[in-house]
């Protein structure tokens, strides 16, 4: 009897040990902070931990650095061989910088994954032919405008006449108002002037638009639609730097004209995403270029009662090549130093399935869903359809903008171009500085 009990107990211990050895360990994810994506991602993790994670006995937890200096902290950590996180953030614009510290995940990108996330978004997570991340958020730009104001501009004869008068006086050509989805950059400037109180005392808003001109690389991404829409690029097919081009000069002038005429708030040189949202949300400007992430906020009447229900979305104004929008994806990939490669892969494989991606989208994230899934969540997130359409029709990535030097180049552009817009330096000097920096960066 005693022998049987011992044998039973031994078998139980062995079974426990075996099951423990096949179970996966817990993993830690380093993700991008900020709402609404942060809350949405926490919901996705809850789902993982209660389903797939529970099945594998592997729990996933998330850590965040603050947004300010996030990339620098992550870079220092991975370069130091940190194992504090197993899954880490990836982004189109710095995938080349982080690639040496990450494990490629091409083996995870099966045909099934393409049914969940769009193929071109997977492409934005590639560097030198290898895939480093599962894209979780698509970022591009919309023209956000107040439907009530732009409609009145197009219908009210007095407003029309004033618009024509202002455009002729300041831009030297008589322009007529158009619906926002037909704007070119001249219309953008003229409308900004018209809705500026110091130029048009009858304007219902204090400024026409709000430009984000803080010395920050993301603000250059937002601006460079002005360049791409006029055929500009960082480099040509032969790898020559093409910043000293009419397209770049035109793009720089668009912001300069608006700044010089004070059609954007005077402290725009310290503005980024948050400030621009608060100005537009408070009804102080009629329209702005902004990242897609802001759409859910402006549809929330408790947060922005002035704008909710009146928000119009369109593609960026057109240049000679039609409208364009910078786009990139944020994603999650694997820290090369992780000791939990299997667990990290298991999590990413699960993440690239329909259920977590749909949940993420419904909760406020902006995953680059494949067409079929996009249609399924369109009822909850109508702007997601627009995102997919814009990425496909107008999306661009500048040549060299995924290289290891891309962040440095963006930052150098931010320093020089914001300097030009605020009158610190001349346009030629700003362009020459950027060209010199790019030559140095790409030569390395």
């Amino acid at each position: 009897m005693l022998k049987t009990r011992f044998l039973t107990a031994g078998a139980a211990i062995l079974a426990t040990a075996l099951s423990a050895s096949t179970a996966l360990a817990d993993i830690t994810i380093l993700a991008w902070p900020g709402e609404p994506a942060e809350s949405a991602f926490r919901k996705v993790l809850d789902l993982y931990n209660s389903t797939e994670g529970a099945k594998n006995n592997s729990k996933a937890s998330v850590i965040y650095f603050s947004q300010q200096g996030f990339k620098e902290k992550m870079l220092a950590d991975v370069a130091a061989g940190s194992k504090e996180f197993d899954v880490m953030l990836t982004a189109t614009y710095d995938v080349g910088l982080y690639a040496p510290f990450m494990t490629p995940i091409d083996d995870l990108v099966t045909e099934d994954v393409y049914k969940v996330v769009s193929k071109n978004s997977i492409e934005t997570q590639k560097y030198e032919g290898k895939t480093y991340g599962i894209p979780t958020d698509l970022s591009l730009h919309f023209l956000y405008y107040r439907k009530d104001l732009i409609e009145q501009l197009n219908t009210d004869p007095a407003w029309k006449a004033k618009y024509e008068e202002i455009s002729e006086k300041i831009l030297g050509k008589k322009l007529s108002p158009k619906p926002a989805d037909q704007w070119d950059w001249d219309d953008f400037i003229a409308s900004a002037l018209f809705f500026t109180k110091s130029i048009n005392p009858d304007s219902p808003t204090r400024y026409g638009t709000v430009l984000q001109m803080k010395n920050l690389l993301y603000n250059i991404m937002l601006w460079q639609g002005t360049v791409a829409s006029n055929g500009g690029n960082w480099r040509d097919k032969d790898g020559n730097i093409t910043v000293d081009s009419p397209a770049f000069k035109r793009g720089l002038e668009i912001y300069k004209i608006i700044t010089d005429n004070e059609a954007t708030p005077g402290d725009s040189s310290t503005y980024e995403y948050g400030e621009a949202n608060s100005v537009f949300g408070a009804g102080q400007v009629a329209f702005m270029l902004q990242w897609n992430a802001a759409v859910p906020e402006f549809n929330d009447a408790t947060k922005y009662p002035t704008v909710a229900g009146k928000l119009g979305l369109s593609h960026e104004p057109a240049g000679s090549e039609g409208p364009k929008t910078h786009f990139h994806s944020l994603g999650l990939g694997i820290n090369k130093n992780t000791a939990k490669l299997d667990e990290a892969k298991a999590f990413l494989s699960w993440l690239a399935t329909a259920e977590p991606m749909k949940l993420y989208a419904k909760e406020g994230g902006s995953p680059p869903l494949a067409e079929g899934l996009m249609a399924e969540i369109a009822g909850d997130r109508p702007e997601m359809l627009l995102m997919g359409e814009h990425a496909a029709k107008y999306g661009f990535v500048m040549d060299g903008a995924t290289s290891a030097k891309a962040m440095g180049i963006y930052t150098n552009m931010a320093e020089n171009f914001t300097g030009y817009w605020t009158g610190e330096i001349e346009q030629d000097e700003a362009i020459a500085n950027v060209v010199a920096d790019m030559k140095k960066a790409f030569a390395q």
């Binding site: 040496p100 290891a404 962040m407």
Partner: protein, 290 residues
């Protein structure tokens, strides 16, 4: 035992006692200094972490880059302006508030409050407070008929100086107040009996007695303002252009954003050499005077 051998034994034991401190300092400062010296002569990056020897290329790149000189100029100018205002304001406050604080010392704690906020948070706070639309200060000023744009190009320099002064004047105040309180009441009374009151008492008795503290506070505040980073980085990112790029922000960007670690470290080494020269000269002056 002769006096000489006693002295030698004393010296030997003093040296022995210094060994742990020297080892500690060597590990804490010596190793990073040596590794940084190597970095400054190498093409180190986050990708290779050690790099290979490139001679003085990084130093040449550093001194031929006009942006470094611009950042250095900003930092020097910023430090001189802030130190002057902070120490001047603190001195005036000490003389005005000293009688009150003698009776109610707890009020000193209230005056110290700005110093307790982290500089980065200070930057975020003022980003909100001074915003043209949502900031309390511009809104109230506008209600009174004054339209001031604190974060605009024309006033951003003054704004970052003002934030630094508001945050760190309490520090200068605290040091100088302590120095003021060490001046004995009897001395002041004796001076008063001899007819030295008001202006004469301040300039011929109090200030000379507070001079060591004054020198220290100027020194500390200058160094602190010279290496300013947090609130400017949060508020302006060093812009517009490079208008508010301090030398610390410049080094940070070279290091983390441009991924030119060697050049960033070379600038740091150059700064260290400049600082050492300044410190040696200042210390010699102080020692000679004392």
């Amino acid at each position: 035992m002769s006096y000489a051998s006693f002295e030698t034994k004393e010296q030997a034991s003093a040296r022995a006692l210094l060994v742990p401190l020297c080892l500690f300092m060597g590990a804490l400062l010596g190793f990073p200094t040596l590794i940084n010296l190597w970095y400054s002569f190498s093409d180190v990056s986050f990708q290779n972490m050690i790099g290979s020897f490139v001679g003085i290329d990084n130093y040449v790149a550093a001194v031929t880059n006009p942006k470094m000189w611009q950042a250095l100029r900003f930092s020097l100018q910023f430090a001189v302006i802030c130190t002057t205002i902070e120490v001047g304001a603190a001195l005036i406050l000490v003389f005005i508030l000293h009688p009150l604080l003698v009776k109610r010392p707890w009020m000193t704690a209230i005056l110290m409050l700005p110093m307790m906020v982290s500089p980065a948070l200070m930057g975020v706070m003022y980003r909100l407070i001074l915003n043209e639309f949502t900031g309390a200060v511009p809104v109230y000023l506008e209600m009174m008929g004054y339209a001031v744009n604190f974060l605009g190009r024309g006033s951003i320099y003054k704004t970052v100086v003002a934030i630094e002064v508001l945050q760190w004047t309490p520090f200068a105040f605290l040091i100088l107040l302590t120095a003021r309180q060490t001046v004995s009441y009897e001395l002041e009374e004796a001076a008063a009996v001899d007819g030295a009151t008001g202006f004469r008492s301040t300039f011929h008795i109090l200030l000379p007695m507070m001079k060591p503290a004054l020198v220290i506070v100027i020194f500390v505040r200058f160094i602190d303002s010279f290496r300013v980073f947090d609130h400017i980085y949060v508020l302006t990112g060093g812009g517009p252009g490079n208008l508010t790029t301090s030398i610390s922000i410049y080094i940070y960007k070279l290091f983390f954003v441009q991924n030119t670690l060697g050049e960033a470290v070379a600038v740091s080494i150059l700064l260290l050499l400049m600082s050492l020269t300044l410190i040696v000269v200042a210390m010699r002056l102080v020692v000679r005077r004392s």
